[in-house]
Subunit: 420 residues, 2 copies
């Protein structure tokens, strides 16, 4: 194993040193490292699979649920998909050096605002080895060093993959410290979140527990890869066949992810016409339904349990959905703003005015008209890949891609200007 | 007095309600409110001056230093300058609705990324009544509600000014809650910094004590209006006359502000030729000098004390400067990155390559070539005004103007698209 467990401070210091060289690295060098990484993933897939098998047969892994075990498992196909993702990132434009503004001030100063890397980014993630490669590739391309803090369940898989990234970086004459890997010790979290001056941004990918743990201690900036309590609202003038497809897709296509819908809201005028069909579809697909009294009454024989207060605020992340009937667009918007997490919200309507009111008044990262919430994704949005999805309003809102991993610098040239 | 002391929660809730209406407000309404505010500042200046006189004669004010008393004092001229500032903000482009990206995705979805207001911004500030008007005007133009938390020393002045802003807002049919004012009770800080769901951003303007107090408790995002330990580095190939003007201006023009220089670094090759002149200039202007051994040796009779370790890390905010001699550009850059606060850094050099290395490798919000650090300012940068200066890397770096008070929203239109 090329990477030994290392202390948090040593890892962060190494990353910090590397970040200085990376900030000035040529696009060609970074792309060469990524192309080489994609090759290495192919050439060394047997090593990676061997490490992964050791993680999967470790006694620690015995307690994993089938779903978590599946996320931990690598295959030739999954490794090939990682390599393809890395090549896609190499093909994206380099955000570093992008000029966002340029002006000649009245006093003759030449002012430019340019994108520069953040410096050192730390990602804290669950037992999904592919995240190791996705995140390292995104930070490398954006000129940042990364301190990866993976799960101990994936220790050997992560180490094997991080070693390939480092090898590729060094072959492209980029610093080895571009990628540092921590092993998954619980005490590392607080150390990372308080590494002021060494870590510029922490991105936790994980549940509410991780988020709260970091909030309590973090002194470095944290960008939360967020929960999604997403809604589909069917207005009175909706094409009900379209609404049925969208509501079904938003819930069922991949219920375990943050852009899946958790609540279906229907205007009272069409509840009787719309609900029996969609509720039967959802039930047939295995979705457990809960609803308010009017939704239950309109269900026409489909089993809808009674929703309690907590249901409207819950990201089920599975085959369960809450169904509510509202009397107006305003009531729908108020419900979404009161219960949503500001991730992805959809309306189905035939009216441009209604759509405009919904998109303007709903306070969320992404607002859809006549489309499924499932599209919120850096790849779908043309950003190549994402390191997570942000529901906070500062710095980045929505998918976190290459540009979101940068900051800016004003570079001002003069010929002796002084003030006053 | 139109505005009574109000509870933090009630103020934040009122601002939150107002923020919804403000987010959709027409540019013309917002500009009309600002134009009316500028008029009211003229028409009611006597009321404002009366309130200010009451603050100045309050027994609390007896303990203020002359400098703090001056910042608290309003005059007809200062009120007219505020009005002029408000008109300048009215004349700026509205950032809300600005389209940052628009793409047709392969699946036919029409994706737009647009600027929207943050929501509710809270500014915590010292006893400077003009900040009340500056900040309220910036947030109003950017479609945000504001919760102002001023100093108790300026209680009556702030109340008089905030009442004018509210009157102007209401005349333009904007909600009164657009501007809420808290009185300056210490317990308000923690309440504001933990008002999750009500306050979207807190901007403290004040010293290190305030910053640390907020860091310890804040759960809502905080953007720190930052300290500036700024440097001027004079390279071996500099035009020494230019360097003398720049170094003098950066220190002396206005030593109490964050973009003033605190340390002068000089390349050893020109220390003997450069330092005697500039050090005499600085001493003549009343600057107390401390330096390393080589700076002391090159001072040629000017009194330079011995710098201790802390001097290199201190924002003097006054007539004191540290002077150091370095052997190379690399040493200068390393010194700046080790001791600077990432605010504003300047090099004086005749070489484009040297300039490029400095601007690339120095990690700061603004990097100057052959110009004074004093230019870092939202007004000078053409942003109209600023609510502070950020040295953090996330969201906003450098002057915080109208755009920096916004976030983004993806608005996606489809015709029934589903995923998978």
């Amino acid at each position: 194993m090329a990477i030994a467990t290392t202390s948090v401070t040593a890892a962060c210091q190494s990353a910090k040193r590397a970040s200085r060289a990376l900030a000035g690295a040529e696009t060609a060098s970074k792309d060469r490292a990524l192309e080489r990484l994609a090759e290495l993933l192919g050439e060394r897939s047997a090593d990676v699979l061997e490490a992964n098998a050791a993680d999967l047969t470790d006694e620690r892994a015995a307690g994993l649920t089938e779903a978590l075990r599946d996320r931990l498992t690598l295959t030739e196909e999954r490794i090939a998909a990682m390599a393809e993702g890395v090549r896609a990132i190499a093909a994206l434009p380099d955000p570093v050096g992008e000029e966002l503004d340029r002006r000649r001030l009245d006093n003759g100063l030449d002012l430019r605002k340019v994108r520069v890397p953040l410096g050192v980014v730390s990602v804290i993630y669950e037992a999904r080895p592919n995240v190791t490669v996705d995140c390292a590739a995104l930070t490398l391309k954006s000129g940042n060093a990364i301190v990866l803090r993976g799960s101990s369940y994936a220790e050997r898989s992560n180490a094997a993959l991080a070693a390939l990234v480092r090898e590729a970086a060094v072959e492209a004459e980029l610093p080895e410290g571009a990628v540092e890997l921590l092993a998954g010790d619980r005490s590392e979290l607080e150390q990372l979140a308080t590494a002021e001056g060494l870590v510029d941004l922490v991105i936790p990918r994980g549940g509410e527990g991780l988020k709260q743990a970091l909030k309590a201690v973090a002194t470095v900036p944290v960008m939360y890869a967020a929960a999604g309590n997403c809604h589909v609202y069917v207005h009175a003038d909706a094409d009900l066949e379209m609404a049925r497809r969208i509501a079904f897709n938003a819930k069922v296509d991949r219920p375990g992810v943050c852009n899946a819908a958790e609540t279906l809201l229907v205007n009272a005028e069409v509840a009787g016409a719309f609900l029996p069909g969609i509720l039967a579809d959802l039930t047939d697909a295995g979705v457990v339904l809960v609803g308010d009294g009017r939704a239950q009454a309109a269900a026409a024989g489909t089993d809808v349990g009674e929703a309690d207060d907590a249901d409207w605020d819950t990201e089920f992340l599975g085959m369960k959905m809450a169904v509510g009937v509202v009397d107006s667009l305003a009531e729908a918007i108020a419900h979404v703003n009161a219960h949503g997490t500001g991730h992805s919200e959809a309306i189905v309507t035939g009216s441009d005015d209604v759509a405009a009111e919904f998109t303007e008044d709903v306070d969320a990262a992404v607002v859809y008209v006549n489309a499924s919430t499932r599209f919120t994704d850096g790849f779908v949005f043309g950003m190549g890949a994402e390191i997570g999805n942000s529901t906070q309003k500062l710095h980045a809102r929505g998918p976190i891609g290459l540009r979101e991993l940068t900051t800016t610098k004003y570079v001002v040239h003069g010929d002796g200007q002084v003030r006053g």
